[in-house]
Amino acid sequence: MAPVPPAEPASASATPPTPPWWRDRRVIPWVVQAVVGLLVLLLIAFLLGNLVRNLTAAGLLLSWRWLQQPAGFDISESVIPFNAQLPYWRALAAGLVNTIRAVLVSLVGATLLGTLVGMASFSHNGLLRRLARVYVEVVRNIPLLLQLVFWYFVVFLTLPNGVAAIQLPGVVLAKSGLYIAGLGEGLRWVGPTLVNGVWQSPLRLSVEFGALLTGLIVYSGAFIAEVVRGGIAAVPKGQWEAASSLGLSWFATLRRIVLPQSLRVIVPGLNTQYISLAKNSSLAVAVGYTDLYSVAETTLNQTGRAVEVILVLLAAYLTLDLLISALMNGLNRLVQIRER
């Protein structure tokens, strides 16, 4: 019997032969990713090419010259100065500023309301606890649009008008808006006055803005309350008991022990709610508040530049939401546990 050739065990103990590249574990993932990436790029190229081809066929190739045309319509409630002779891009900018204004104020309001209600659901007071539950369940189960219409048509538009308006020192609440005293011309203190049947004052909030704010704050507040409740519930019960054994009150426990720890759970959830709020603000059109969406709709109709206007809208809301997200992620890093 011939001896086993010694070459075999020798070669087995040496480094195994390199497999062909299509079986190489280090190469395969790269190949797969390259193929998928190429397919995605091809798809995008196809869609874009198709878009350009169809737009050209329809005589609607992307053009941005309309941005410089005079808008021709007025905006009554603009923070930045605007009139009908200014170009469309100024109108869109005025709309964007109005959107940002509504989003910022609603963010603050909804956070305060949501935090209070979220805390209230841990209160020792049974009535308060139940009220908080009822608020959350009622509000988050009704579509926001219906709520906005309710606030505008049923609550704000049934306010009295003109001389019959609700008048407090320095403040008047009328059907047309909230009028607040402030510094007028020549730095004199000016209160709300009725001129020719129309209230005038240095500071004015329209009922349209009011209805939008109320709707957004109440609606988002309910969701934020749930996020806060979840965050508080995530703090171990032992923390409450330990605080209580130290003689801390309910409120002090919440403020000094529980809330700081619960922020780690709350902040990521809050991020989602803030982003939703920013997007929901586009429902302003339903209550006559001139926001970005409303201006864009008129622009689209007057210029016929549907694709361009929608691209502007998409870019604006995307940027707004990414900004909010970036800020919240920064906040999140601040409140996370840091190993010392």
Partner: protein, 360 residues
């Protein structure tokens, strides 16, 4: 809560959906085939019904009637087109759209035809603008202003500093800005996405005035709780000749819609009514001397075929909805709650502006 206000969540959603559809349609579909004739008409025949955009909430023009069917002069125009193209006036799918979304709905192919008060303007017509195709003027109108009778407002100047309700995305909005600028009158425009928000807001007293086409104001007023409490100012802000709209990319379809409109006008001029048109055609068929009537009703010649319509399309149109005068009296005239005078909407030989070119 007003019931009108309740219906609009669907509207806001539909606007968004339409805008997205437009985008997706442009992004996704391959270019439409260049079949001879009219692609729109081919699509309507294949589908078996006409998709016709109406406002849906303007009394006299298009509203949902007590039986759940759309009624009004705009709705009947859709029926006339369906009768001409498909031979059945009932084969219409009505699609209520807002002022802001109507042109996108049309250019994206969501609807075949706009039967909404749409003023013919250069920017909407031009290939470099909205690239739409307007039919003959269907209704001569002017922009008016409605105020509460008790307010004491009698002219635009009286509206200085006051809130004025207006539908956004309309000509109305631009005319208002122009007229107020000319007069140097400051005002607060309250821009609403649709009439379903603007009119309830006005009725609840949020605005000192509301502005739109006079006929629309009269129509909306007829639906108010107390129509007599509201008056139209005598000042008109603009001329608003409104027409039926199709896309510019399908000129054959635009021609068909144009001549269906002329059919209604010519029928009135020729004394053909819903009641007598069939008998008149039979009489014309027997009498070779009635040359003009024979051509109009498709007894001689092939005008229908030239338009891509049946030879007797004029007969079908008039039988389905009557002539222009009948339509006007039925929906807008003195016997209706709107009680509009025909005014400029009379025929050319009665002191009005409606004229149909010769059917020859």
């Amino acid at each position: 809560m007003s019931s009108a206000a309740l219906t609009h969540p669907a509207r806001v959603l539909s606007t968004t959906a339409l805008l997205l559809t437009a985008l997706v349609a442009l992004l996704g579909c391959a270019a439409g085939g260049g079949a001879p004739g009219s692609p729109t008409m081919a699509r309507i025949r294949e589908r078996g019904r006409l998709v016709c955009a109406v406002d849906g909430a303007v009394p006299g023009f298009s509203t949902v009637g007590p039986q759940g069917a759309f009624v009004g002069i705009d709705a009947d125009f859709c029926r006339a087109v369906a009768a001409a193209v498909l031979g059945d006036a009932r084969k219409v799918e009505f699609r209520p759209v807002t002022a802001g979304e109507r042109f996108v709905a049309l250019s994206s192919g969501e609807v075949d035809l706009l039967s909404i008060s749409s003023t013919h303007t250069l920017g909407r017509d031009a290939p470099g603008g909205n690239a739409l195709s307007f039919g003959p003027v269907f209704f001569y109108d002017g922009q008016g202003v409605m105020v509460p009778a008790a307010s004491g407002i009698r002219s635009l100047r009286d509206l200085a500093g006051k809130p004025i309700c207006v539908e956004s995305g309309t000509n109305t909005e631009l005319n208002l800005a122009d007229r107020m600028r000319e007069r140097g009158v400051a005002y607060q425009p309250l821009r609403f996405q649709s009439g379903e928000q603007a009119y309830p807001a006005y009725e609840q007293g949020r605005c000192a005035a509301i502005t739109s086409d006079s006929s629309l104001l009269a129509g909306k007023r007829s639906g108010f709780r107390n129509p007599a409490d509201h008056v139209l100012l005598s000042e008109l802000l603009s001329k608003e000749p409104s027409a039926k709209v199709t896309i510019q990319a399908d000129p054959a379809w635009a021609d068909a819609v144009r001549w269906i409109t002329y059919t209604l006008i010519q029928a009135e001029e020729s004394g053909l009514t819903q009641a007598n048109v069939e008998a008149s055609r039979a009489a014309a068929r027997a009498d070779a001397s009635q040359a003009e009537r024979r051509r109009f009703l498709g007894v001689e010649g092939d005008f229908g075929r030239q338009l891509g319509l049946p030879a007797d399309f004029t007969l079908r149109v008039v039988k389905a909805v009557g002539n222009y005068g009948e339509l006007f009296e039925r929906h807008l005239g003195q016997s209706t709650p709107l009680g509009l005078d025909r005014g400029l909407n009379r025929l050319w030989n009665r002191g009005g502006l409606h004229i149909a070119p010769p059917f020859r």
